[in-house]
Symmetry: C2
Subunit: 240 residues, 2 copies
């Protein structure tokens, strides 16, 4: 974002927030609206704590792939949900001017963020581990039952955090397979490129919150640990 | 095994038993002892049903790697436990003449086979999914807890099947990490070479038995489904 701009979009990987915070602060004008365009349900709060400023949360329904530095390919989707708050109308209007984006303000952004977190807990992790596109989830014996187990664990943790996931969440998850059969998750792309994933803020967040509330989440925990091991292998391969 | 030999060792992958049975039958002499040197707790029974002959079960504690057809590298171990039954003394004596093997007859082969199955449920699956050697299990945050979950699920299913796993099974599992830190499981080697694994007879067996007894085994089930998806990818890559 240019110096003293009226709105700033933060879209670094969640794990880079602490490193990015000084840069964000150096670019703030008097009334700059900071928008977190990141995965996770507490990312905006985290960024707010790091910068001391109000940060608007958002959920993006846009599939892109960074094929090389400076070259991003748009795979589909153009929808953005913003939290309501100071500057959200200004930010939504600015985003809507940037066609073909479609930004809307949600009066219940926690539910929106939890629903997206649950989608990520299912597809990011399993796609990153198996390196298979979403179609494979519809074609593999037992995959539907694993998806359901991840979902039910997320549902219980969300409820403990005060958010009720939609009753038709199973259908919503299966629609993703139908709408994007050839897509691999951003986490799968991270693994294929030897980069660290955001797993600690996806399934890792569920595991931490479950721990706080004494809830068992064996499947999310297993997926988290498997990706930690895969990241360890990627880091070792990079050193060779 | 040569025609009309006194003992025959069957060591094909469990999934190939049906295909191997006619060959086994064609090689049998009047008193040939058939020994199943395979993973799984019901493999000998399965082979017995396919051939109509008595088959001795056994558990091998020998790490080998088939680097190419006809070239097998011995990585460690020389211990074989045989079930007791008709011909087991003969078979043990024959194996012990083939130094440096050390064959013993167990009076409780079901417990021996279940303990080995449990080891395989933990390490075969996780090593095949992550392609990491056993040392990584000791070094990754949370891996010990995942190992424990797989173990506890196996323990409950074993108990339902009438077998009590050793009380110090956790220690036995951790000793494997210390004794073979650089080893990758046979299933990991299968995945790296694009071959199908024996997962349906390892974690898959636990899942089927758990289903019969109405026991929840979410972690074994998740590992099974993940490897099914990885095998699907390997099969697709072979076609390309």
């Amino acid at each position: 974002m240019p110096s003293c701009s009226r709105s700033g979009l933060v879209s670094v990987k969640v794990g880079d927030n602490a490193a990015a915070a000084p840069l964000v602060l150096s670019l703030l004008g008097k009334d700059t609206v900071i928008l977190s365009m990141q995965n996770g349900v507490d990312t905006a709060a985290q960024l707010s704590e790091l910068t001391g400023c109000e940060v608007l949360p958002s959920a993006l329904y846009i599939a892109v792939d960074r094929v090389e530095p400076g070259h991003v390919v748009h795979r589909g989707g153009h929808h953005i949900m913003l939290g309501s708050g100071k500057g959200s109308r200004l930010a939504a209007a600015a985003l809507n001017r940037a066609a073909p984006l479609k930004a809307e303000i949600s009066q219940d952004i926690p539910s929106v963020l939890w629903e997206k977190l649950t989608v990520n807990c299912v597809y990011n992790a399993l796609s990153a581990i198996t390196l298979m596109p979403y179609a494979a989830f519809g074609e593999t014996d037992g995959a539907g039952a694993v998806i359901q187990m991840v979902l039910e664990e997320c549902r219980v943790v969300a409820q403990a955090c005060g958010v009720t996931l939609p009753a038709d969440m199973t259908q919503r998850l299966h629609q993703i397979i139908q709408h994007m059969p050839t897509q691999k998750s951003s986490a799968a792309q991270d693994v294929m490129k030897g980069r660290a994933t955001e797993i600690e803020f996806i399934n890792g967040y569920i595991v931490r919150k479950a721990g706080e509330y004494g809830i068992a989440v064996p499947v999310n925990f297993t997926l988290l640990v498997i990706i930690r091991m895969i990241e360890k292998r990627l880091a070792q391969e990079k050193l060779v």
